[in-house]
């Protein structure tokens, strides 16, 4: 690993001030960053350890729940308020990584983990995300794990987070601190599609800090389900995952929330399918129709055509579980 300086400021202001120097990166849990540094993919000159900041608490707020950016993934997954009000988030978190990594990874760090693929990790291969302009190795290479939505000819990697898929479906808001104070961003707008700048995974400025995520109260707790399909039963990235949440009144869907993971450079919200479900009976036929709608515009590459069948099937299965039909 390249040598770097390490500082551990105790105030938000000093963290933000330190970030203005080039080559500086925040470290929270380190589970993705240290891995990337060992591979030589990321080579910061200075790490700003933010673990002294008081951002670890989960607190009820008016109309929702406030989750500090340093709350651990395991802490959030097992939090009583989260399990009761947002079981979808708890399920998604527990579907991610391993018990050890969930004890290290923070909410903010989970969001900041790199959108990535094997070509990004191998510094001997071209990758526009790691080295802009060098080309995309995956485009014509082995692309079984890659995107079917929202990709560009510059990058076809997918964002690996499960938590972010649930947060997107749950209409969470990201609270970001910068030099000029705080700003709020819908969770679904935090991560980016690759376009011509795949080196940018998200819309956080270099001198900004995620301080919290807030989830608004909803009526989905009784009917939500996170389904992750992967190559082994546990501790693997999603081939496809679906966060499904339904508000069902007497067999009729009042509203729906749907997002997919493993299919795009960011958590992929299925807005058209959500709208189509409103007013429909909670039945297999409605779910099939929504899944077909969700797949419009999907495009496969050489090795990932199976996702065109797997994704709609996973949507139907997740909705079926959410509705309590199995």
């Amino acid at each position: 690993m390249k040598q770097f300086q390490y500082i551990r400021p105790s105030t938000q202001q000093s963290v933000i001030a330190a970030l203005s120097q080039p080559g500086t990166k925040i470290i929270a849990g380190g589970s993705n960053l240290v891995d990337l540094m060992k591979h030589g993919v990321m080579t910061p000159d200075k790490l700003v350890d933010i673990n002294k900041l008081p951002l670890r608490t989960i607190t009820p707020i008016k109309n929702g729940l406030h989750i500090g950016a340093l709350a651990l993934n395991s802490q959030v997954a097992e939090d009583k308020q989260v399990m009761e009000k947002f079981p979808l988030l708890s399920q998604a978190l527990n579907a991610g990584a391993s018990a050890q990594l969930r004890n290290m990874a923070t909410v903010g760090g989970n969001m900041m983990q790199r959108t990535r693929c094997p070509y990004f990790y191998d510094i001997a291969l071209p990758c526009n995300k790691r080295n802009p302009g060098s080309g995309c190795g995956a485009l014509e290479g082995f692309n079984r794990m890659h995107a079917i939505f929202g990709m560009s000819d510059k990058c076809i990697a997918v964002h690996p987070s499960d938590m972010a898929v649930a947060m997107t479906a749950l209409d969470a808001t990201v609270i970001i601190a910068g030099k000029k104070g705080e700003r709020r961003l819908p969770f679904g707008e935090f991560h980016r599609l690759p376009g011509d700048t795949p080196q940018l995974d998200n819309n956080l400025a270099k001198d900004e800090l995620i301080v919290a995520v807030e989830i608004p109260t909803n009526n989905y707790a009784a009917h939500s389900y996170y389904l992750k399909v992967r190559d082994r039963a546990s501790y693997a990235f999603a081939l496809v995952s679906v966060a499904a949440a339904l508000d069902i009144d007497n067999g009729t869907i009042r509203s729906a929330r749907l997002a997919m993971g493993g299919v795009a450079h960011k958590p992929w919200r299925l807005t058209a399918a959500e709208k189509a479900l409103v007013g429909k009976p909670a039945t297999a036929a409605s779910f099939e129709q929504a899944a077909q709608l969700a797949m419009q515009g999907a495009k496969a590459f050489k090795d990932n055509a199976f996702k065109l069948k797997l994704a709609p099937a996973t949507i139907v299965e997740a909705l079926t579980h959410a509705a309590g039909l199995v």
Partner: protein
């Protein structure tokens, strides 16, 4: 890294005689560090790792308690907890498997929670308590999980075993050892290439059923 306490091992034993070169390097770098580092500055740095300290020092002070023994060290920020344990404190029970957080062989407890020590920078464990496989037994009395692994033949080559046992203890403490399915899910961060999984699960089930304090 240098021990600031004369390079003695955590349990107060003499340095092992097996690797004179390593011991020489340790002691000589210790002398260099002590010579170059004013005590006042070290104290100041311990209290507040800030810009000035980071710029002046190639090595930073780390206070850490490992298996009940306190250490005051100076380390490079890029040293992982795993390398600190194995390469600098001779606690080689914790194993380096993949070194990328994928196999779990390096699992230790930090303040009671299991983590991958290979992806943990040692500096980030400042002020915390670490337990490694060497810290589980009480003298000659093995931990119940160690006994159970032996009884159920929960290993073949044994390389993943320290990580498996540290993870298994945490799995029971966390309350995630209630069924075979749950154990398999919550032990998924520990890979065993010999395939001792059924026996590992049986060992954990037995410890859970025994209800002992783990």
């Amino acid at each position: 890294m240098e021990e600031l306490n004369n390079g003695a091992l955590p349990d107060g034993q003499e340095q092992p005689a097996g690797n004179p070169r390593r011991n020489f390097l340790k002691q000589s770098t210790l002398l260099t560090a002590v010579a170059l580092t004013p005590g006042v500055a070290v104290k100041a740095a311990e209290n507040h790792v800030d810009e000035q300290v980071a710029a002046v020092f190639e090595k930073l002070p780390l206070n850490i308690e490992i298996n009940g023994t306190k250490h005051n060290l100076l380390i490079e920020p890029r040293v992982t907890l795993l390398d600190l344990l194995r390469e600098q404190l001779d606690l080689t029970g914790t194993k380096k498997g993949c070194d990328y957080g994928q196999c779990g062989a390096c699992t230790v407890h930090v303040d009671g929670h299991r983590v991958n020590s290979c992806l943990t920078l040692a500096m980030m464990v400042d002020g915390k308590k670490v337990t490694t496989i060497e810290g589980l037994a009480k003298g000659d009395e093995l931990h119940p999980m160690q006994e159970a692994f032996i009884k159920h033949d929960g290993f073949q080559c044994g390389y993943c075993t320290p990580g498996q046992i540290m993870s298994a203890v945490a799995c029971v403490r966390e309350g995630h050892a209630n069924s075979e399915m749950e154990i398999r899910e919550y032990m998924s961060g520990n890979i065993c290439r010999c395939g001792a999984y059924p026996n590992i699960v049986n060992a954990i089930l037995e410890v859970k059923a025994g209800g002992q304090q783990v």
